[in-house]
């Protein structure tokens, strides 16, 4: 009986604690959602002037905001894919092989994480302008890949930490070549790490503002648009777009979740 009580107490504590953390995470988001329905038209859009859907309509005529959002999605997708491939290969390669300069490479890896983004942004800018690569989509993607790769590698490495080399050896002993082994044996084991890394890379990329600020040229991304609008108080149509993005991601997560649950039940 006593034990049961204790367990129940634990359960309640767990739920309450997690609930508080989620509240903390979602509180500013609720501010955004509420303000996207605010009928106010005067900057800085703080006082509540009634409920309206107008901003959701207004949003579709704000072409510069929409195209900035499109740019952000393209950059995030391309750089996540590139960073995930490069990072996964790199992590496995660095784990498995000994080579000259491994130590240096290892320390280099920390640098994009370690240095403030502004330094990476400035240093990338100086290089791009010295080599004369026109600033824009290309430089944005290159920069985003650069700061995403280490995060992919960290995630994959955390997985490799408990990785048993012998299953790979077994696979090769059974006659599979390196490539088959990599895809059939190594990748599935690392998948959670790779997935986590990719997700993190994507999250970092769509949110990056500091590095993009220096290497964007005339290409606007969504965060850069936000940075400009934040100076004068975030306008409700920006809040409206954020709310749409939020709802989109939530719907997506719920859909995948219920799909997974259904599949589990069927099994």
């Amino acid at each position: 009986m006593k034990r049961k009580n204790k367990k129940a107490f634990h359960g309640i504590f767990n739920v309450a604690f997690c609930g508080l953390v989620y509240l903390f995470l979602f509180l500013p988001i609720s501010v955004i959602v509420v303000n996207s329905f605010n009928a106010t038209t005067s900057k800085p859009y703080l006082s509540w002037k009634g409920f309206t859907f107008d901003w959701y309509v207004e949003l579709w005529s704000n072409t510069s905001l929409l195209s900035a959002f499109g740019n952000t999605m393209i950059i995030a997708l391309v750089s996540t894919i590139l960073a995930t491939i490069i990072g996964t290969l790199g992590a496995v390669g660095m784990y498995k092989y000994k080579f000259k300069g491994k130590g240096i490479l290892n320390s280099l890896l920390y640098i994009p994480v370690v240095i403030p983004e502004i330094v990476l942004g400035i240093s990338l800018l100086t290089i791009f302008s010295n080599v004369n690569i026109p600033r824009g989509m290309l430089t944005l993607i290159l920069s985003h890949v650069t700061f995403c790769v280490p995060f992919v590698i960290f995630n994959v490495r955390a997985r490799l930490d408990g990785y048993d080399n012998s299953i790979e050896e077994a696979s090769m002993d059974l006659g599979a070549n390196r490539i088959v082994t990599f895809f059939q044996v190594t990748l599935p084991v690392l998948a959670p790490g790779i997935g986590g890394g990719a997700l993190l890379a994507f999250t970092l990329s769509i949110d990056d503002v500091i590095i993009s600020y220096f290497v964007n040229g005339q290409t606007k991304t969504y965060p850069l648009k936000v940075m400009e609008s934040i100076k004068s108080g975030v306008s409700p149509d920006v809040n409206a777009l954020s709310t749409i993005i939020l709802i989109g991601t939530i719907v997506l997560v719920v859909l995948t979740q219920s799909n997974l649950l259904k599949k589990k039940k069927e099994e």
Partner: protein
């Protein structure tokens, strides 16, 4: 068998190593090492009257950065980063532990709920705190409506709000590695420990904590260091009153227009970080075993 095995290891390690490590090496050398060397060189330069960088060797920048005024800001910045990291660990560890070890079918959902907020632009979210905590913000209005306070309280624009914003922005970087590390824990190990009569506290300190230390460490790196540089948080929530090193660098590259000084600041920051990593290595041993 033995022979075949060793020939596998030996035969052609160069090519696969090159294929796998080559791209990342190329990327890091061209887009990290070379630019940073450039910044390092710049840190020994000066500027002319139009703020152009002049390549003339000078130690003046570093001399300036050792003045007490700057050291005070480093101290403040490191303090903010330290408190932020500590708070992140205290919140993220139990949280990650609960969601990583839950038997609920919705485990994946709990994990995703951590990430979803971060798909919304961080600047707007930090600004959301400003709306929430302002003099006429939600919190003050609620407190007054409930007659808990009569006058609006001053929440905004101090070190506390800067720390709050930092924790808010950086906590997923603590949760994610911890989640990964805790999820990897072998349940039978914990059972074995308790079967052997270990109290939960003992199990935690002698089994769980050492096994998840890698998560804490990589989480701390990912929280502590960006904290030194996240100038936009202290701009939006600190009102410019609680500068971190990132604000100093930003100022030199922007309004101050003294790039060499900013470069020198960056170099100092990099050195501080390398020092931290070194200290860790001395104290905690091998980095690789921690999986960072």
């Amino acid at each position: 068998m033995e022979k075949k095995h060793s020939s596998h290891q030996f035969r052609s390690n160069t090519l696969p190593a090159l294929v796998m490590v080559g791209p990342v090496a190329l990327l890091l050398v061209l887009l990290v090492a070379v630019p940073l060397v450039y910044v390092a060189v710049m840190s020994f330069c000066t500027t002319d009257e139009y703020y152009n960088v002049v390549f003339k060797f000078s130690l003046a920048n570093y001399g300036k950065l050792l003045s007490p005024d700057y050291i005070k800001i480093y101290g403040q910045s490191i303090l903010i980063a330290f408190i932020t990291t500590l708070l992140c660990i205290l919140i993220a560890y139990p949280f990650s532990y609960i969601i990583a070890r839950t038997k609920s079918k919705r485990k994946q959902l709990f994990y995703m709920l951590v990430i979803i907020p971060f798909w919304t632009n961080s600047l707007i979210r930090v600004y959301g705190w400003r709306t929430f905590l302002g003099t006429n913000g939600w919190l003050n209005n609620a407190l007054q409506a409930l007659h808990i306070t009569t006058e609006p309280l001053d929440f905004l624009y101090n070190q506390g709000t800067t720390v709050l914003g930092m924790v808010y922005c950086l906590i997923p970087f603590m949760i994610l590695p911890l989640y990964t590390a805790i999820e990897k824990l072998d349940g039978s190990l914990l059972e074995a420990s308790s079967d052997l009569g270990a109290k939960p506290v003992k199990t935690f300190f002698e089994v769980i904590l050492p096994l998840t230390a890698s998560g804490i460490f990589s989480g701390s790196i990912m929280v502590f260091i960006p904290c030194l540089g996240y100038f936009f948080v202290s701009n939006i929530l600190g009102g410019g009153n609680s500068d971190v090193i990132g604000n100093l660098i930003e100022r030199q590259f922007k309004s101050g227009n003294n790039w060499p000084l900013g470069a020198a600041l960056s170099i100092i920051l990099i050195l501080v970080t390398l020092l931290l990593v070194k200290i860790y290595k001395k104290l905690g041993g091998d980095m690789d075993s921690l999986g960072v």
